[in-house]
């Protein structure tokens, strides 16, 4: 593979890694607004 091909491959890997990082972090952080159950 020539230099351009390697560069494109590196860019793709970096972008995929960044997206995966953001998705994993968002899922691990989680969070919501929870209503307690009615007691009565």
């Amino acid at each position: 593979m020539d230099t351009i091909g390697w560069l494109i491959l590196v860019v793709i890997v970096v972008v995929v890694a960044a997206v995966a990082f953001v998705v994993i972090r968002r899922r691990r952080r989680g969070g919501g607004v929870i209503a307690t159950k009615d007691k009565g």
């Binding site: 994993i24 972090r25 691990r28 952080r29 989680g30 969070g31 919501g32 607004v33 929870i34 209503a35 307690t36 159950k37 009615d38 007691k39 009565g40």
Partner: protein
């Protein structure tokens, strides 16, 4: 301020200035109109849920940039915390709930929960994404029932949808008067 502004805030101790946790879930009582507590994440970029929770009575203050506690002992183990906080009903996450009148009309979807700043966690209303577009606010006493799917409100609530938080304050009192609530 809104519940979404509280979520993700660091939990900091007053006595040591230590950053001990991060707010994950905000738990409130629709009946009492109050914040009940928060669940926590550990600190760290990819850290997940913390076992400890923070009941509302252990919160020293909620500010724009941090939730303050006196010290690390304010964080409670699940067995020492109220059940609603230790084991929150995750299926009752109200974000994205349809807001339906008892007559079956949709007012929009729940976007957030509105709390009074500087108080001991009083909840005053909901921020909604209106069915016709744009943001609106409805007072908390409006709800007849709430689940993880829908928020049911009296028919007259449609008259009390406010466009801003300033209007919401006045709407809460007027709404209570109209419904004959204390």
């Amino acid at each position: 301020m809104t519940a979404s502004q509280i979520r993700g805030l660091p939990v900091v101790t007053v006595q040591g200035g230590e950053d001990v946790a991060e707010v994950r879930d905000v738990i409130y009582s629709p009946e009492a109109g109050r914040l009940v507590g928060v669940t926590l994440n550990k600190r760290g970029f990819l850290a997940g849920r913390s076992r400890e929770v923070l009941p509302a009575e252990a919160i020293h203050a909620v500010g724009q940039h941090a939730v303050m506690v006196l010290d690390e002992s304010s964080l409670a183990a699940p067995e020492d915390a109220p059940d609603d906080v230790a084991h929150p009903a995750m299926e009752r996450n109200v974000l994205g709930d349809d807001v339906l009148t008892e007559g079956g009309a949709s007012l929009g979807k729940v976007a957030d929960l509105v709390l009074l700043v500087g108080s001991s966690g009083e909840v005053v209303g909901y921020q909604i994404d209106k069915a016709g577009g744009g943001r609106g606010y409805i007072p908390l006493p409006a709800q007849l029932s709430v689940s993880g799917v829908a928020l049911v409100v009296p028919n007259i609530t449609e008259e009390f949808v406010q466009d801003d938080l300033v209007g919401l304050g006045a709407a809460v009192d007027e709404f209570r008067a109209r419904l004959g609530l204390p």
